[in-house]
């Protein structure tokens, strides 16, 4: 590697560091960059820059997570009290989407472990990993336009319902079930991608258009037919109706229950697909570690709902709907030949999970702020300052 290339890579590492660091730490990014420029040896300069990048990256991520609970004095101090681990934990629990992202990554990783242990084709692992990247990229891109998205929830739900109806009428049919579409050589299940975000979105923002979209999606699931997704609709809407006793929600819940009953009455003769269906109860036959990975991954899917319920009382209906959606998906996979979400082979559920995080609040409210104030007062003792240094 030429000296010029090494110097260029060192500068690139410094620039990446500067982009990553939050404003309160920007001067440190400049400090590393200027110091790197002063190192006469190209190799040492590159090592200095790369080590700084690796060392400060967790700090940068932690500081960005902590931004909501940063010092109100704006002094750039990272921690007002407690250990770094506890503060990062607290900050993550207050950001449902960030927590959901971590759970998605963890569940996919556990799913990959299962697929690896079970001897699945490498292509399956690549598909799941790629789906995670796509899903998180969509979450990041669409998450920026949240205000506009909230205003257009009704239209978006209706448009997605249209896509589900089109799948039922024009999609690929296998043994009497029309649930899939082919896109760029890949077979996708639109209902697994779209229904979770539709339902969680409906729990936050409802109007006549959104209700019509939900009813249309019930019709689509009855036509396909898809018991798993119809069950997801019914469970999520019934739970939402219990939490929000509004006429639109109760009507949608009643229609969804009828739709689910129709799918139960219609024959569903699809056979199990290896690594996709029957994963939950067959994984322990493969290996105990595979079984634990599958159960652990499935449990992770519900963590944002449980954390949100506990930390954000103002939005409990949304978290309950989110939990009901993914609980229904897991239960369907346990009871019938339906895809095992996230931990089994299949990218649709992974993308669907990431998209459903989009409908969660960005930040947990109310109780989190009170908890933060209490913690700061209780733990801001002089001895804690030494603790922070001690962790270095």
């Amino acid at each position: 590697m030429s000296g010029r290339l090494r110097r260029g890579l060192a500068d690139l590492a410094c620039r990446v560091l500067q982009v990553t660091l939050p404003p309160s730490l920007q001067s440190w990014g400049w400090a590393v960059r200027c110091e790197t420029a002063e190192i006469p040896d190209d190799t040492e300069a590159l090592l200095f820059a790369l080590e700084s990048l690796c060392g400060l990256m967790p700090h940068a991520i932690g500081a960005r997570l902590l931004r909501p609970c940063a010092s109100p004095t704006g002094d750039g101090a990272l921690h007002s009290g407690g250990t770094i681990t506890m503060t990062v934990y607290d900050a993550t629990m207050r950001r449902p989407r960030a927590l959901g992202t971590i759970c998605a990554i963890g569940a996919v990783a556990l799913g990959l472990a299962y697929l690896l242990i079970a001897g699945a084709p490498v292509r399956y692992l690549a598909v799941n990993a790629s789906a995670l990247v796509i899903g998180l990229a969509m979450l990041a891109l669409l998450g920026r336009a949240e205000a506009a998205a909230r205003q257009g929830t009704g239209g978006a739900i209706s448009a997605m319902a249209g896509a589900l109806l089109a799948t039922a009428l024009l999609g690929d049919e296998v043994e009497g079930a029309a649930r899939w579409v082919h896109l760029a050589g890949v077979s996708l299940q639109p209902s697994l991608i779209l229904l979770p975000v539709m339902l969680v979105g409906f729990s936050r923002s409802r109007n006549a258009l959104a209700t019509a979209g939900i009813v249309a999606s019930v019709l689509a699931m009855a036509l396909q037919p898809d018991r798993a997704m119809a069950g997801m609709l019914a469970l999520a809407l019934i739970v939402l109706a219990i939490m929000r006793r509004e006429r639109q929600v109760i009507a949608a819940a009643a229609v969804s229950a009828a739709g689910f009953a129709i799918t139960l009455a219609r024959p569903d003769t699809l056979s199990a697909v290896p690594f996709v269906d029957e994963v939950l109860y067959s994984s322990f036959d493969v290996h105990a570690a595979a079984g634990i990975a599958v159960l652990g991954g499935a449990a992770l899917l519900l963590v944002p709902a449980l954390a949100g319920w506990n930390r954000d009382p103002a939005n409990r209906a949304t978290y309950v709907t989110f939990g009901a959606v993914w609980f229904a998906a897991v239960m369907a996979a346990a009871l019938g030949n339906y895809p095992t979400p996230i931990v089994g082979y299949g990218g649709s559920a992974i993308i669907g999970y990431a998209l459903s995080l989009l409908a969660l609040p960005k930040r947990a409210e109310a109780r989190a702020a009170a908890a933060s104030a209490t913690r700061s007062e209780a733990e801001a003792t002089p001895t804690d300052r030494h603790l922070l240094v001690g962790t270095a």
């Binding site: 960059r33 080590e51 750039g76 101090a77 990272l78 001895t383 240094v389 962790t391 270095a392």
Partner: protein, 103 residues
Amino acid sequence: MPRTRALSPHARIVLAVLLEARGAWSHGYELARLADVKSGTLYPLLIRLEAQGYLEAEWQQPPEGGRPPRHAYRLTASGVQLARANPAGQPAAQASRRREATL
């Protein structure tokens, strides 16, 4: 109940090197070499020390034009106390010797 935890060896040795400087300004690369720590360990430590008031940092203009400014560091009075209360062990002595050798 108040908890106490000893400073890490890296924190102690960096503090020792800064204490050895006797109030003179030090730079990141020089500190990393003298303390024999990686820059990825050094900078997070410097950030914490500065945030907690143990370290003073300033930008210094280079004596000759065309060079970038440099971020320089020295201990504050409380930093000196912290360094004295937490002396480095064997690694600090090594650092001192290495520094003397470069003079």
